[in-house]
Symmetry: C2
Subunit: 342 residues, 2 copies
């Protein structure tokens, strides 16, 4: 694959280093104004942007197009992922999601019953956090010009400035919490595509993460946070390390991986660290409250398997002590190994 | 065409009555929470939604997917329309657009130079109103699964509650201002597709409308407002009439149509009243200030050909006095006659 020719290729949208390159060189370099009122803007490449208001409040907003294939997969569908994906990008800024904007581009001939299922699934997901769907747009295009459907959701949350958590705020000594098992979503998609989807007990983890953020915040300070979607925890942890200037030291034994995910990842030769999750968070927390925050997360619907997986170091690397007692550098992936994962 | 079978067809996304039906029966009926804090929400089907804040301010937000074909057309490109379309939906709520979220789904193999042109065009359009592009998302999908690119933009404006203008507020006696000639965008797209695009002087009108809203508001009160995109002024005027419960009486001689638009519409048998505009506004204004507001609009970059085209009546119809002295009812279109117009 040639990453530098004059055409866009799959890696340009795969959430890894090639995509970051394109964003910097083609997108950021051509946009004049990238933030409002000194808020977090496009250049920070955080999960959401912020618009500070005239007092101590702030509007948090984000957008994501969802192109997941297949549209229905074990554990979820494009409706659930379109809602959860955007609600989660707001949530990991530390603020409760209030509302979604929903834009759908549908292929002519799309089955109406499936369409209705997708809308219902989107609504159910919003209900889990009490978010409203307040505005939308519907376009239909010729069936030979689009496969299935694309759902783009934007979201808004409004909160206090003091609660905003960027992905750049790690400090030396912070503990790293991972809220559950890794690779479930990407591997569920892959195994479905490979034709053994419903023969395993592999389910996508797609879910709204807000309750876990709220629980953690009730017990202490989150210093940095991301939801590890495209590029998996390998990408999220490296981004948090890069942006803070600190390193991470992780304990492989603490990182939960389900046996079915492990089996499928071995079979397909895909690293579960580099695969998308859709209902997990990696967060840095102040060490003194780490245990209390972990317990609070464990008591939420989606947080039962949360773990403290490591801590922030002076180094520049994301380093992991392996189960066999060795050490391994977790590199940022070039791209997500699973195309159209979200 | 059967509008009621079990598959989605082109009319379901064409901005007319069939689309309104689907929105009511499949989308609205399945969504539990459609507004926040008593603001304008999904059910109002207005150009944007509003989130009232804790004091006298309000957040205005909207979303639109842009699937225009061809991507480059006389007078604009998908970048300009993606920015203007969303900035305009905020503007016609009476509030200055602050920021855009930009989500792009790109077909593998897309030309990078074209991609960069599109980003630049988007940025230039934002600069006309001082809006920032604060967050984004990029996805790439296989070239046989998507034709070209889809750009979805969401936008935010923040203003005072007292300045919000819905599309439902017409009162009997209000004057109707149209800010310029109709059909330019839809006809430019059609004539380009039919192969005589660059032989006519037909240019899309795609442009940000904010300066016209600001000018009008400086001289009086706007009672209702829409930008007549899909379905043209026929759709916009009928929606404003329906929602207010009042009728309209229009003067055909006052509605500006460029000779090239007239010629192409005759040739293709397409009614310019039903065709998308991308840089125009129809607004209801208090009669006492109508002339002053018109003059203010005429002094802006895109408002030189603005006209008072009629007034609000007790009737329930959108009625027009024709150039020949007869009367014609302007019906709401079933669908926009130009597919993939925006």
């Amino acid at each position: 694959m040639n990453y530098n020719d004059d055409k866009i290729n799959m890696t340009h949208g795969a959430g890894g280093e090639v995509m970051q390159d394109m964003i910097s060189n083609v997108i950021l370099s051509n946009i004049t104004k990238t933030s409002v009122n000194g808020g977090i803007g496009l250049e920070q490449l955080d999960d959401s942007a912020t618009i500070p208001l005239y007092d101590d409040h702030v509007v948090v907003t984000t957008i994501d197009s969802h192109t997941v294939q297949p549209l229905f997969f074990p554990g979820g569908d494009i409706g659930r992922i379109s809602a959860a994906g955007t609600l989660n990008d707001i949530s990991v800024m530390g603020v409760k999601p209030l509302s979604l904007n929903n834009a759908m581009v549908i292929s002519e001939g799309f089955n109406k019953a499936d369409f209705e299922k997708i809308i219902k699934s989107m609504d159910e997901t919003c209900q889990e956090v009490g978010a409203a769907i307040i505005t939308g747009d519907t376009k239909v295009i010729d069936k030979d010009k689009l496969d299935g459907m694309i759902i783009t959701t934007a979201g808004i949350g409004i909160g206090k400035k003091e609660n905003i958590v960027s992905d750049a705020g790690l400090n030396e000594g912070d503990k790293i919490i991972l809220t559950g098992s890794i690779g479930d979503h990407g591997m569920a998609i892959m195994s479905q595509r490979e034709g053994f989807g419903y023969e395993t007990d592999l389910l996508s983890d797609v879910a709204p993460v807000w309750s876990m953020v709220e629980a953690a915040q009730s017990k202490g300070k989150i210093t940095a946070m991301k939801d590890p979607t495209r590029g998996g925890i390998a990408n999220a942890l490296n981004e948090m390390s890069d942006k803070s200037g600190f390193g991470l030291y992780l304990d492989e034994d603490k990182i939960p991986i389900k046996p079915a995910v492990h089996a499928v990842s071995e079979m397909l030769g895909i690293d579960p660290y580099e695969v998308a999750n859709e209902g997990k968070i990696v967060m840095g927390v102040e060490p003194d409250n780490a245990e209390a925050m972990l317990e609070a997360i464990k008591n939420t619907k989606y947080g039962a398997n949360a773990q403290i997986i490591g801590e922030v170091t002076k180094d520049k690397y994301v380093l992991m002590e392996t189960s066999f007692g060795g050490e391994r550098i977790i590199e940022p992936p070039i791209a997500d190994p699973v195309p159209r994962v979200c």
